[in-house]
Amino acid sequence: MKILVCISNVPDTTTKIKFAEGNTSIDTTGIQWVINPWDELSLTRALELKDDAANGIKSVTVAHVGPAGAEPTIRKALAIGADDAVRVNAEPLDAYFTAAQIAEVVKKEQFDLIFCGIESSDFNGSTVGGMLAEFLGTPSVSAVSGIKFENGQPVLTREIDGGKETVTVPAPLVVIVQKGIAKEPRIAAMRGIMMARTKPVKVFEPVAVEPLTQVLEFEKPAPRAACKFIDAENPRQLIELLQNEAKVI
């Protein structure tokens, strides 16, 4: 069984977001780029599954759609333990475009299990994984918080409103992960970092796909009114404000 983990390259989650070029793109000065948190966790889980020989996982590959500038993030995934990587050499124009590119990668290289995150922390689309599955015509399971193997078949836990379900779906399959999939992201060890340098990164040229959406401009959220402070000795005043001023209780 071969696993593919789709990774998105995003600004570190503590970045103060600023925009450039008339608010049409993000100002990249000083940004630390990282693997999208969900993708880091799905990579971790994929590697854990591979560590258990009983699961019969041959390899864990990472895929990224992005220009050469994303190489450090791909190398980081290799350092954490992925066996190899594929980069589609194109600016990810929108989710539809990105998913279509990954679908081509899957068709060429054949994977049984494909992990995507539930959401990228930059675009917050929650769409690439499901789109990819539809392009491939394979099943997808969303909001997956756990995966293990039983009798060579993946058994998934997915979150539903107020609970969870155990589901089985035969591979090939797109697994869209969320909280719970792995505890802590695996960290690259020195040896991993050394080895990552020589691991193969295939570069594919993109196929022609017309994106369906386009960002016109970005805008910062409206600033909130300054905080009104209430004396700690008199919290009753807070309750009164919530009732009479905010009218929320």
Binding site: A99, G130, P139, V215, P221
Partner: protein, 322 residues
């Protein structure tokens, strides 16, 4: 040409989210000069279906099919796509919840329809069709143009006010063809919490962070939430430590919520935490550190020790209720 809205039900009942979706769809229909068709999947009785009319649906398509019992993203997408085709819908509205996230992207590829996900306002422009969308985990918003003929919008929960209408909706029972052999999802076990208010549904949320010091200090926080008719939540380290259940963790890697009132107790207000709660209408912070970043996000604040302040708040709410 109608605006199509997928209204999920929970054991045959709709909830506020369903009406938010219909209200939103009605807003889009008004802008585009058309009407709203709601599609419901699974057994829902007629009086319940009619309630969708109270928020502006003029037609309700009810699908029941043995292959549409458990959520299977392919089967659901194909059923909704079929209704969208019959209706000639140009705009499809779906919730930005677990079900919506499973279905909307598949529908997008099937119909070649661009997705505006996580919208909370009506489209800002019809030509070009432009939506206002959350990006960078709440640190920015994008004006996103959807260029395709058919558009899919996924609505954030608790972000759009209900708009009562008085439509007498017509109900159509439709049977769709779903090839059972194509349904690949088998559900082998379900664990459901019952009786507890869901965090994502709550209008009021009281949430505790590491400043609560110990899991043993939670009872006044829970009592406050109960008295206010709300739900409880927590920051990530609190759930990581096992002080509170994982389902309560809010933030970028937890639940993203937008209640009317979010009370953050002993929470510093890290950006990753704010990413999950910044759409709340009002934020109250209780923290010993007057410089904690949470006060920048909050409208009301108390600088003080949570352990002392919480019981006083409980008393004040009790008195108010008298």
């Amino acid at each position: 040409m109608s605006v199509l809205v997928y209204t999920e039900n929970w054991d045959g009942k709709f909830k506020k989210l369903s009406y938010e979706l219909v209200s939103y769809a009605a807003g889009v229909a008004k802008m585009t000069g058309t009407s709203v068709t709601a599609v419901s999947i699974g057994r829902v009785d007629e009086p319940e279906l009619r309630k969708l009319g109270d928020y502006g649906a003029s037609k309700i398509v009810s699908l029941t099919n043995d292959n549409l019992v458990n959520l299977d993203s392919q089967a659901y997408a194909s059923a909704i796509a079929e209704v969208a085709g019959k209706e000639g819908s140009k705009v499809i509205v779906i919730a930005n919840n677990n079900t919506g996230k499973a279905v909307a992207p598949r529908l997008s590829v099937r119909l070649k329809a661009g997705v505006g996900s996580g919208v909370s306002k009506l489209p800002v422009n019809l030509s070009p069709f432009t939506v206002y969308k959350r990006t960078y985990s709440g640190n920015a918003f994008a004006h996103l143009v959807i260029k395709s003929d058919v558009k899919i919008l996924t609505l954030s929960q608790n972000s759009f006010d209900l708009v009562p209408a008085s439509n007498t909706a017509t109900i159509e029972n439709l049977s769709v063809n779903i090839d059972g052999s194509l349904v690949k999802t088998t559900v082998t076990n379900v664990e459901k919490q019952t009786g507890k208010m869901l965090l994502t549904d709550a209008d009021i949320v009281v949430s505790g962070g590491r400043g609560m010091k110990s899991p043993d200090n939670w009872s006044p926080l829970v009592e406050l939430a109960d008295l206010l008719g709300g739900a409880t939540a927590c920051s990530r380290p609190v759930s990581d430590e096992g002080w509170r259940p994982h389902g309560e963790h809010t933030g970028q890697t937890g639940k993203i919520i937008a209640p009317n009132l979010y009370v953050a107790v002993g929470i510093s207000g890290a950006t990753q935490h704010l990413a999950g709660i910044s759409s709340s209408k009002y934020i109250v912070a209780i923290n010993t550190d007057k410089d904690a970043p949470i006060f920048e996000a909050a409208q009301y604040g108390i600088v003080g020790d949570a352990i002392k302040v919480l019981p006083k708040l409980v008393e004040a709410v009790k008195e108010l209720k008298k």
